[in-house]
C-alpha cells in the first residue's frame, strides 16, 4: 500500500478499537493510579462506537470517517480526554476534505493538524504528563520517515518511549495534576493509549489487509 482507501481507513479504526479493547483493563489500572480508573473503559467504548458509526456510513470519504471518529470519541468518551482525543480526529478531518486516497504526506498533515489541535485545546506540552508526551514524538517520527510502512513502526516506538517517559513526571494537566508528586512512578494512561493506537495501526499495516476483507463496499480507485 502506498495510499489508503476509505474502506481501509475504516478497517484501521476497527483494528484500533479491537486492540484498545484488549488493553482496556491495563489502561483502567493505569488510570486508577492517577485518575478515576476509567480511561480504558471510555477509550475502548469510544473506538467501538466509532467503528459502529463508520459502518453505518454510506460510501464515506476519508474525511467522513475521520469526522465520525471525532464525534464518536468526543461524545462517547466525554470528559477532558474525550475533547482532547476527539479534537485530534476533528482537526485531522479538516485536512482530509476532498482527499480520496490518503497518501503518506496527507497522513503527515492529518497527524500534524491533530497534534496542533490537541495542544491548542488542552494547553499541554511535552513534559506535562499527558497523551501529548506520546503523541508529539510519534508524529515527529512518522513525519521523519520516508515510507508509510516504516513510518508506523517508528512512530509506534516513539509513542512507547514517550509514554514511558511520563513515569517520572508530575502532571500539569488532567485529573492527575491534583496528585502533585504522588503522580511520580506512574505512567500516564492517555499516553499509553496513544502508544496502543499506533501499535494497532502498525500491526494492521503489517497484516496488509486487502479491500476484500473490509466491512463495506466502495468503488475501487
Amino acid at each position: 500500500m502506498t495510499t489508503i482507501a476509505p474502506a481501509q481507513l475504516a478497517d484501521m479504526i476497527g483494528s484500533i478499537a479491537r486492540r484498545i479493547l484488549s488493553e482496556r483493563d491495563r489502561l483502567n489500572r493505569l488510570d486508577a493510579a492517577l485518575g478515576d480508573g476509567d480511561h480504558g473503559t471510555s477509550v475502548s467504548a469510544a473506538f467501538a462506537a466509532a467503528a459502529t458509526d463508520i459502518a453505518e456510513l454510506k460510501q464515506p470519504s476519508a474525511g467522513d470517517i475521520w469526522l465520525a471518529t471525532a464525534k464518536a470519541v468526543m461524545n462517547r468518551m466525554g470528559g477532558a480526554s474525550g475533547a482532547i482525543f476527539g479534537t485530534f480526529f476533528l482537526k485531522g478531518a479538516g485536512h482530509l476534505r476532498g482527499i480520496e486516497r490518503v497518501g503518506k504526506s496527507d497522513m503527515e498533515a492529518v497527524l500534524q493538524a491533530g497534534l496542533q489541535g490537541v495542544k491548542a485545546r488542552g494547553k499541554a506540552e511535552v513534559g506535562d504528563k499527558t497523551m501529548v508526551d506520546a503523541l508529539e514524538p510519534a508524529v515527529t517520527a512518522f513525519c521523519g520517515a520516508d515510507e508509510f510502512a516504516g513510518a508506523w513502526t517508528r512512530a509506534t516506538e516513539a509513542a512507547r518511549e514517550g509514554a514511558e517517559s511520563t513515569r517520572e513526571l508530575v502532571a500539569r494537566r488532567g485529573r492527575a495534576k491534583y496528585l502533585s508528586e504522588r503522580a511520580i512512578g506512574h505512567v500516564d494512561p492517555g499516553a499509553s493509549s496513544i502508544a496502543v493506537i499506533f501499535e494497532a495501526v502498525d500491526d494492521w499495516w503489517g497484516a496488509n489487509p486487502t479491500p476484500s476483507t473490509l466491512q463495506f463496499e466502495e468503488a475501487e480507485h
Binding site: 483502567n28 486508577a32 478515576d36 480508573g37 476509567d38 473503559t41 471510555s42 464525534k71 468526543m74 461524545n75 462517547r76 468518551m77 466525554g78 470528559g79 477532558a80 480526554s81 474525550g82 475533547a83 482532547i84 476527539g86 479534537t87 476533528l90 485545546r121 488542552g122 494537566r173 488532567g174 485529573r175 491534583y178 496528585l179 502533585s180 504522588r182
Partner: protein, 336 residues
C-alpha cells in the same frame, strides 16, 4: 475505613441510563427525559425567555438532575460518572432549552466541562445555531490562590448560582444580562470542602483513592481531587475553625454582610454531624457579624458515598436575596 465497593446496580455500563429512567419516572410531574441523557423540564418555561443548560458528569446526585424545574435549570445534559458529556449531547441540550431568547450554557469549572462546552459552541457556530453563550463557574478556594479565581474549580457552592440564575432566567429576555447575573452570583460565592473517606467507582468497582481511618483532607474537589494533603482528623469545632476563616478571608466577607450558607454533605456524612458542624458555623458567623439570610444543610452535590462536607457562602444584596427567595420547583430543590 475502606470505601464501599459493593453497589446496588445492575450492569456498570447501564448505570447512567437506568438512573435517569428511574429519576424521570419518579418525578414525571417535574422533569422529562427528552432523549438519552437529556433531562428537561416537564413544562418548558415561557417563550421569549433565556434558556439555561447545565452539563456535567454524574455521581453528584441530586446535582444537577434535582435542580431542573421551574425557577431553576431548563436542561441538564448528563455525562458518565465524573465525566463531562461530549459536545453532541450538549448541542442537543442547547436546542432543547431554546425558547427564542438565547441559551446560556453553564459550566462548572473542570477541564472536561470547559473543553466540551468550547467544542459545543464551535459546533453551534458551524451549524448556525445563534445566540448561545457560556459562563464558567467556580467557587472552590482550595484549587487556586486568590487572584487566580478563574482557575478555580466548580463545587457545591454553585448551588447558589443555579438557584438565583434560574429565578432570574424565569423572566429574563436578555442573554448578556443573564450571563452577567451568573457572574455576579459566582463572584460572591466561596466554598471549601473536606473529606474523611474515599468512594468507590460504580463503574470499575475500584476505590478512587485510599484514605486511612482517622485521617482527613481539606480542600478536596468534587471528584476527590487532591486538596491540601492529609492530616489527622480534627473535632467538628476545630474543623470549622480551620475552614471557615479561610472562606471569610478569601472574598473577603465583612461585618454587616448578609450571606447564604450551605453545608453540603459529600455523601455519607450523617445529618447529625452536619448539624453539629453547623452549630459552630452559625456561632462564628454571628460573632463576625455576618447575617445568615438562609441556610441549607444536606446532600446537594455529592461525590458518590464520600464522607465529607463543604461549607459554601454567598454574599447577597437585595437583588440576590430576592432571587434566592423566589419560588423553585425541582425534584430536590423546592421553595415556595
Amino acid at each position: 475505613m475502606s470505601a464501599r465497593k459493593q453497589k446496588l446496580i445492575n450492569k456498570p455500563e447501564a448505570i447512567v441510563d437506568e438512573m435517569l429512567a428511574g429519576f424521570c419516572a419518579a418525578y414525571h410531574d417535574i422533569v422529562r427525559l427528552e432523549r438519552e441523557r437529556l433531562v428537561v423540564r416537564a413544562e418548558p418555561k415561557a417563550p421569549g425567555k433565556v434558556g439555561l443548560v447545565m452539563g456535567g458528569g454524574s455521581g453528584h446526585e441530586p446535582a444537577m438532575l434535582g435542580w431542573v424545574g421551574e425557577g431553576l435549570l431548563d436542561v441538564n445534559v448528563v455525562g458518565e460518572v465524573f465525566s463531562a458529556p461530549g459536545p453532541g449531547p450538549i448541542i442537543e441540550g442547547i436546542r432543547a432549552a431554546d425558547r427564542g431568547a438565547g441559551v446560556l450554557l453553564c459550566v462548572s469549572h473542570h477541564e472536561g466541562d470547559r473543553l466540551n462546552a468550547e467544542l459545543a459552541l464551535e459546533f453551534c457556530e458551524m451549524e448556525g445555531i445563534e445566540n448561545v453563550d457560556m459562563v464558567i463557574l467556580y467557587d472552590d478556594i482550595s484549587s487556586a490562590p486568590k487572584g487566580s479565581e478563574s482557575e478555580r474549580r466548580g463545587t457545591a457552592g454553585l448551588f447558589f448560582v443555579w438557584k438565583m440564575l434560574g429565578a432570574y432566567c424565569e423572566g429574563a429576555v436578555d442573554l448578556a444580562a443573564a450571563k452577567a447575573l451568573a457572574e455576579k452570583a459566582r463572584d460572591n460565592t466561596r466554598s471549601l470542602a473536606m473529606s474523611l473517606s474515599s468512594c468507590a467507582s460504580p463503574v470499575s468497582g475500584e476505590v478512587m483513592f485510599e484514605m486511612a481511618e482517622g485521617e482527613m483532607e481539606i480542600g478536596m474537589g468534587l471528584h476527590g481531587e487532591v486538596g491540601r494533603g492529609r492530616q489527622k482528623a480534627l473535632s467538628a469545632d476545630d474543623t470549622i475553625d480551620l475552614m471557615l476563616p479561610q472562606i471569610l478571608d478569601d472574598l473577603p466577607f465583612h461585618a454587616g454582610d448578609e450571606a447564604l450558607v450551605l453545608l453540603n454533605n459529600s455523601g455519607s456524612l450523617t445529618l447529625m454531624e452536619l448539624f453539629i458542624l453547623y452549630r459552630r458555623v452559625e456561632k462564628m458567623l454571628r460573632e463576625a457579624d455576618i447575617k445568615v439570610h438562609k441556610s441549607w444543610i444536606g446532600a446537594y452535590a455529592t461525590t458518590l458515598e464520600t464522607a465529607g462536607f463543604a461549607i459554601s457562602l454567598c454574599r447577597v444584596d437585595d437583588q440576590l436575596k430576592d432571587l434566592w427567595d423566589a419560588p423553585a420547583n425541582g425534584a430536590y430543590m423546592k421553595q415556595v
